[in-house]
């Protein structure tokens, strides 16, 4: 039986987002997001019987997040896991919540995230296992995404100005979002082009800043959602794909290295029973501008290699043909590992976004994208959700 529209997102929460917020631990941020989301749903914590936590991988030596979180929230959880697919994880937790509810394990699931970049109680360090990248001086997501960007530029002629168009669109939207990290800090394409190289071919404004913050959503059955306070936001379709396309050219010898993810979007649109042209608003993962371009291609909104021209001329800005990342995205709202994208999609469908509202938004498409790129082979996880309201 299809899970299309069987579950709904009924509560959302997103904390204050800032480059540095030393007032909260990762757990603290997640708890704050959970409290907001439960209250937003008009529920109490005693209504929650499942909990999924996005693994704060930077603090990877700490285990058992979800069980501890359940206790700190004071909930009796019948279904709990800490989930780790990098930036694909927030969406994956929503998918898992719907599956667990459908399976009858629990009725209402909190999916949450919290991130303190400089945790006072955890010394920063490098885990082992980076033997094939670190000795050459490559560590972190930025240089690996620079490798991806260079290859994309080589194969398809993608230009830095096109990456800049993504950054400018996100910033424009963040300036309409008072909770965004870059609210009140407009950016032009010229600013982007003048920003320094971080890892060439990526400039400073191609990359996310650090963000301390947290968020949560509440998932329950569509039936139960009818009795709650907000217009029902149905979870209509989803997909996932995982692999190491840049390092594993053999995986599908008949296709380009870039097509790994397209099957996951086919799955999601088929499950939801909607067409790409029915989508009113998108929240596409954008830890780096190049990642946003990959999401457009992976989702089938343009052909592989054609995402650069697609974003020129403001098409992905509010008022353009294809409004994306309306809260500012990871690039300008804040790097919430994509949790902000899920929250914004729900708010758009509730039509609660004020100045940045996409008129009459009915169908939203959201993606997550996680790179685990220091260990070999460097892999990506792609996840997506199609959300719908009546």
């Amino acid at each position: 039986m299809s899970l299309r529209d069987q579950c709904a997102i009924v509560g959302v929460g997103l904390t204050k987002l800032a480059r540095k917020n030393p007032d909260r631990s990762s757990v603290g941020f997640a708890l704050e997001g959970c409290k907001q989301a439960i209250e937003d749903a008009g529920l109490t914590k005693d209504d929650v019987d499942g909990l999924l936590v996005v693994h704060p991988s930077q603090q990877g030596e700490r285990h058992g997040w979800a069980g501890r979180m359940a206790d700190l929230l004071g909930i009796s959880s019948d279904f709990t896991a800490t989930v780790d697919c990098g930036g694909a994880t927030p969406i994956v937790t929503v998918q898992m919540a719907a599956m667990a509810i459908h399976a009858g394990m629990c009725k209402t699931v909190l999916c949450c995230y919290g991130w303190q970049n400089a945790p006072a109680d955890v010394p920063m360090g490098l885990p082992p296992g980076f033997e094939f990248t670190l000795p050459y001086g490559e560590i972190g997501a930025t240089p690996f995404m620079a490798q991806v960007a260079r290859r994309h530029m080589h194969e398809f002629g993608t230009k830095s100005m096109q990456l800049g168009a993504v950054a400018v669109a996100c910033r424009k939207h963040a300036c309409l979002n008072p909770n965004a990290q870059f609210f009140g800090k407009p950016m032009t394409l010229e600013d982007h082009q003048n920003s320094r190289w971080v890892v060439e071919p990526l400039r400073l404004f191609d990359c996310c800043d650090w963000t301390d913050g947290g968020g949560a959503v509440v998932v329950t059955s569509a039936e139960r959602a009818q009795d709650l306070r907000h217009p029902t936001v149905y979870i209509s379709g989803w997909g996932q794909a995982h692999g190491a396309p840049l390092l594993r050219p053999w995986r599908n010898p008949d296709s380009s290295d870039w097509e790994l993810w397209s099957r996951a979007s086919e799955t999601a649109f088929k499950m939801a029973g909607v067409r790409r042209k029915d989508v009113d608003v998108c929240q596409l993962y954008d830890a780096f501008t190049i990642v946003f371009l990959l999401q457009l291609e992976a989702s089938g909104f343009c052909k592989v290699g054609e995402s650069g021209p697609f974003v020129e001329d403001g098409s992905v800005e509010l008022g353009g043909e294809f409004p994306c990342n309306t809260a500012g995205g990871l690039l300008s709202e804040g790097h919430t590992m994509g949790f902000g994208h899920v929250v914004e999609a729900v708010r758009q469908l509730r039509r609660a976004c004020g100045e940045r509202q996409v008129k009459d938004a009915k169908i939203a498409y959201v993606t997550g994208f996680g790179g685990v790129v220091n260990e070999y082979p460097p892999t990506f996880s792609f996840s997506n959700l199609i959300l719908r309201r009546e």
């Binding site: 001086g137 290859r151 080589h154």
Partner: protein
Amino acid sequence: MAGLLLDKPVPTPSEDSKPFWDACRRQELLIQRCQDCGYFRFPPSLLCPRCSTTNAPWVKASGKARVYTFEITHRPLYPAWDPPYNVAIVELEEGPRMHTNIVGCAIDEIYVGMPVELVFEKLEGQDWYLPKFKPTAAQS
């Protein structure tokens, strides 16, 4: 983060990758070749990701490769390296791709598709050898 990784880190082999790094000390680049389907695999692993069999003797790679992509790090996350420097992903003649540094040329001479050949570099003061690549000598 200051104070962390002031020295260049050495490889930290696993049980699976130890033969690879041991061979580097002999200045040989070893990769596994599946005895059943012939697939050359890297990184070292128990199973062939194409046919799932385990029998894969180590073979010596030719050392010929091409630059698949590369980046120039201007702002390293850790201070052990002097920017700007390059990190490339090269595609070996046998098929696998791996991270490396391109040596023996200026960073603005590196390009996607550039033919390169293997050279080993000893980590200063350490008994570790890293496979790196330099521009292929011109044929005369």
